[in-house]
């Protein structure tokens, strides 16, 4: 890259996850060669991104700002959802993954982070008081804990279990095991082990 402006743009793009300098350069050269409207539209959307897309006031999912208050996401606006079933996830990505299954008929609560003292995240950094309020207000009758099966995710699940002990609703934990449609022989030993220990009665 020859000019300072181009170098700056490459460096900005290279900060995106999964994008290195070479890929960033490819993007810039593409944007220069393609229809100028592509770069213009992209720039306009990006410059307004933080004003238009904000966390849902109710659950923390992504929501589009429309000047109304409180700001609600698609899921929280959907009347057909069962408010008594609440699924707690760590990140918005995890919510989107569950939504793609089309089987979740309840609502969500996004923690935003997982317990991780090594990264300076303690219990006080988690929105547990807000979660308790939501459970009481919406009359939640089952809480699905869908934090990831990592050590931090498990610790967060245990913390929720203890914090919500007195709330008096059943907590369930998502299962972990072999992927659908896969042959058992291709499952790695750890996943297979978890599937076995989490087996269910036929």
């Amino acid at each position: 890259m020859t000019t300072p402006k181009l170098r700056r743009l490459v460096q900005l793009l290279a900060r995106l996850p999964g994008v290195g300098e070479k890929t960033a350069q490819r993007y810039v050269l593409y944007l220069l060669a393609a229809d100028p409207s592509i770069a213009r539209d992209l720039g306009e959307e990006l410059s307004r991104l933080h004003e238009t897309i904000r966390p849902c006031d109710e659950c923390g999912n992504l929501a589009e700002a429309d000047g109304q208050s409180p700001l609600l996401c698609q899921v929280c606006r959907d009347d057909r959802r069962d408010p008594a079933l609440l699924c707690v996830v760590g990140r918005v990505q995890d919510l989107l993954a569950i939504e793609r299954t089309g089987t979740m008929r309840g609502r969500y609560f996004v923690l935003g982070k997982l317990l991780s003292p090594l990264d300076g995240v303690g219990p006080e950094s988690l929105p547990i008081p807000r979660l308790k309020q939501k459970i009481a207000r919406d009359g939640v009758r089952e809480l699905i804990v869908a934090t990831p099966p990592s050590v931090d995710g498990e610790a967060t699940a245990l913390l929720l279990k203890r914090e919500l002990d007195g709330v008096g609703i059943p907590l369930t934990r998502i299962a972990s095991g072999v992927p659908h449609g896969g042959d058992l022989e291709f499952a790695d030993p750890i996943t297979m082990g978890r599937a076995l220990s989490g087996r269910q009665r036929l």
Partner: protein
């Protein structure tokens, strides 16, 4: 046991080896050269290609050649099933592992495909040193006896370090300590279980080898656990040691503090054994590792013998030759004196000079 061997090795910017492409023999490969020329680096490159870890540096990035930004080692492994490739790319801050050009699911999967056992001069600490080397021995063998051992150890380590971080940043009253203690206990107990299985696989050969070398004294291997085996008891003992652990800077109990206690005639060998006894113990443990890893993987391990050298260290050489005579698979050994190496069967000789490797 199925045979397998490293038939070709490519090395780029690894320690003082700028570039090397070597064809190796299926049996004995004798690497000679003066000290500091790169013999150990070549053996280390094989070890890295097969396990993604080094037996020398604690930080693998240290093995990237001076002035280079990345290093690569790539091994072709031949067996009855055909040829396959394993490679490790090293960058500062990361490793890139490939099995036949695909990312392995885990570093344990990578490290167990082509078993390798290394015997190098520093390993006298297996018998005479602190517990770290002995725990590593058990954890290496455990990868073969319990497929989830590597994952459990990583989870245990994360949990127990998280507990320590919580203790040190928020004190003994911080509310998430119970969660970390429960997870430390759950995964810690599984680590201990895997190590006990690994020890069971090692003990018999270790004792019989030692008995052949020094029949007059009894050799025992005992797993010495610092934490209760019951998960709930383990967790409550962690709870009780919170205030001590804040001061000492780490958890006072758990698999990271356990030891494989080696006893000669019922006494801990670490302090009481003679030099000769230490050597016999190390050789017995290495023989046992070779046998255990072979039996558990059903593959003949590659044996790396570093620095089979001078007559000055006669006892050690005797031990090494005895190991050599029992290794039925591929052997790579480095020496300053190739003429003293007696081998039976196929042998290929190499010379290493200033990081350049050439067949003799």
């Amino acid at each position: 046991m199925r045979a397998q061997h490293v038939s070709a090795l490519s090395v780029r910017s690894f320690r003082n080896i700028a570039q090397a492409d070597v064809s190796l023999g299926p049996r004995f490969n004798v690497v000679s050269g003066d000290n500091g020329q790169g013999k150990t680096s070549l053996l280390e490159a094989v070890y890295v290609a097969l396990t993604s870890r080094s037996f020398r540096a604690t930080k693998i990035e240290e093995s990237i050649a001076f002035g280079a930004t990345q290093a690569l080692v790539r091994a072709r492994i031949d067996s009855d099933d055909g040829a396959r490739w394993q490679s490790v790319g090293l960058r500062r801050g990361g490793r890139d592992l490939r099995l036949d050009d695909k990312r392995p699911r885990s570093s344990s999967e990578f490290a167990t495909r082509a078993p390798v056992v290394v015997f190098h001069p520093g390993e006298i600490s297996l018998s005479a040193g602190s517990g770290a080397e002995r725990r590593r021995l058990l954890d290496r063998v455990a990868l073969f006896s319990s497929p989830s051992a590597g994952d459990e150890l990583a989870r245990y380590t994360r949990a127990v370090r998280s507990r320590q971080a919580a203790l040190e940043s928020r004190g003994a009253g911080s509310s998430d300590l119970g969660e970390w203690e429960e997870l430390s206990a759950v995964h810690g107990a599984r680590v201990v279980e895997a190590r006990r299985r690994a020890l069971a696989a090692l003990a018999e050969v270790a004792q019989s080898t030692f008995g052949e070398l020094l029949p007059e004294v009894r050799f025992d291997l005992v797993y010495s656990a610092t934490a209760p085996s019951d998960v709930a008891d383990f967790a409550s003992e962690l709870r009780r040691s919170r205030s001590i652990d804040v001061r000492r800077g780490s958890a006072s109990i758990g698999p990271h503090r356990d030891d494989l206690r080696l006893e000669l005639g019922g006494k801990a060998s670490r302090r009481t054994a003679s030099q000769g006894q230490h050597r016999a113990i190390v050789l017995s443990l290495k023989m046992a590792e070779l046998a255990a890893v072979g039996a558990l993987s059903s593959l003949r391990p590659v044996l790396l013998l570093d620095d089979v050298s001078s007559e000055l260290d006669r006892a050690r050489s005797t031990a090494l030759f005895s190991l050599l005579s029992r290794a039925s698979g591929q052997v790579l050994l480095s020496t300053t004196r190739p003429e003293i190496i007696e081998t039976t069967g196929d042998r290929v000789d190499f010379v290493v000079r200033a990081g350049a490797i050439s067949p003799l």
